[in-house]
Structures are given as structure tokens and as C-alpha cells.
């Protein structure tokens, strides 16, 4: 799914890297636990989260994620925005909750990361 399409579906405010709205994401991962992002995300994905701290951006960067959507109207500070900017990661903020955000994207064709085997 094109990042610009996600932005429309979520009616999200773009916080940085607008020039990359034309890039595609192939799956999504929604959670506030960075430990799980580091353990399970596999491909060029978008991170949907309500957690706001510099480790969110660094985690996304480590995992080669191309976009971060903050839910529940959360917004990162300037330092975090600068880090994302330096690395071309699109960040946006939506007033929707995590559940609604996931539902909207999923029902429009964006799949989740592969299932986790125990």
C-alpha cells in the first residue's frame, strides 16, 4: 500500500518526510512493545504505535521500517522528528485508536507480519 493511501485512510497529519509519501509498505505491525517489533517484523513494514520515545524511531530504523504512524493523536518531539528525517522515515499522527487504525488498513488490503509460531 502506498504511504499516501494510508495517510488518506487514517486522515493522518504528516510530521516529516513528505517526499516519501509515494513509497510502498508491504505489511504492518501494531504494538507499543518494541521488544516484539525487534523480534517479529520481517519486511518493509509500517509501525503503528501509541508509544512515543526515541527508541520507537531507533527501533524502526534498525528494522528498516519506512513509516511510523502514531495513534491516539500522539506526537513525537523535535529530536525524534529530526532522527526520522535524517533517515527518510515518514512519520504521521492520527486521532484514531490502534484498533481502528489496524482495522482500516487491514480491510483495505494491508496485511500483517507473518504469524508467530510458538
Amino acid at each position: 500500500m502506498k504511504i499516501s493511501k494510508m495517510q488518506e485512510l487514517l486522515d493522518a497529519k504528516v510530521l516529516c518526510c513528505e517526499e516519501n509519501l509515494g513509497k510502498h509498505v508491504y505489511s504492518a505491525f501494531g504494538c507499543d512493545l518494541m521488544s516484539d517489533v525487534l523480534a517479529y517484523v520481517t519486511d518493509q513494514a509500517v509501525l503503528l504505535t501509541g508509544l512515543v520515545n526515541p527508541q520507537v524511531i531507533r527501533t524502526a530504523l534498525m528494522m528498516d521500517m519506512v513509516c511510523i504512524v502514531f495513534v491516539r493523536s500522539k506526537e513525537p518531539n523535535e529530536e525524534m522528528i529530526n532522527l526520522a528525517k535524517e533517515n527518510g522515515i515518514v512519520m504521521m499522527s492520527t486521532n484514531k485508536t490502534l484498533y481502528t487504525t489496524c482495522g482500516l488498513l487491514y480491510s483495505n488490503g494491508l496485511v500483517g507480519t507473518a504469524e508467530v509460531e510458538k
Binding site: 521488544s35 526515541p54 530504523l61 532522527l83
Partner: protein, 145 residues
Amino acid sequence: MSEKLVFRFDVSGNDFTSAGQASVQVKKNLRQLGFDNEIIRRVSIAMYEGEINMVIHAGGGVAEVHVCEEYIEIILDDHGPGIKDIEKAMQAGYSTASETIRSLGFGAGMGLPNMKKNSDEMKITSEVGVGTRIVMKINCKGTNE
């Protein structure tokens, strides 16, 4: 790149905000050196997990990354409390992290297993009350995992 390159970082244990900075820098350096994306990704995950552990469990330490064409070696040294039962700590889901750390997005007990998964060799030496040393090696050629 015929010589071995060494990157060294002091990882502060006082300031969670900066946790992960060394790994960000290493990723940048490896990209500039032209390493394969999959190798960079494995090094990034292994080092980042280890760096965060040093900050949240050991009050900081020193991270060194040795880079040559054949392999990348990550050496993490701290003078924290040490790990009493390494086998137990290696189990997915085992964590002694506090509520505060969980609220920051970590402490699921996934880090050490993830470090093992992303490296070709991993060695932990630890002594209670003295500190922990973790060495991870990622081979750049041939088979991974």
C-alpha cells in the same frame, strides 16, 4: 577494506533517552562501507538489543564493533550486576525488567534469544557482582544461520 576497522562507544547508563544511539551510528557506518542489507540488518538487531540491555540492566558499558570483510564482531562489556543463570536468561519470555522499563517499550524477555538468532556465534560470560561480556559474530560470506 583490507584492515580491520574498530568502532568504540561509551554507552551511558544514566540516560534512557540516548539508548540505541551507538547502534544507529554503527548502522550508518556499515551502510557507508557498502555491506549487504541483510548483514546490516542482523548486526543492527543484535547490537541494538545488546545496547538496550546494557542500559536497562547494567547501568551502561562499552560497545565495540570490529569490522572486516569476512565478519563483523560486536563486543559488549559492562560492570553491571551480572547474570546469575545464563541459560534461564536466554529463554524467550524471561525478564527481570521493571514496570518502568516495560512502559518504555522493553522488557518482554525477547532480547537475548533475538541476539542469538541474528548472530552466527554468540558467547556470554558473566559474573554476579562483576559484570557481563557478550561477543557476537556475524559472518559476511557464506551461509547465515
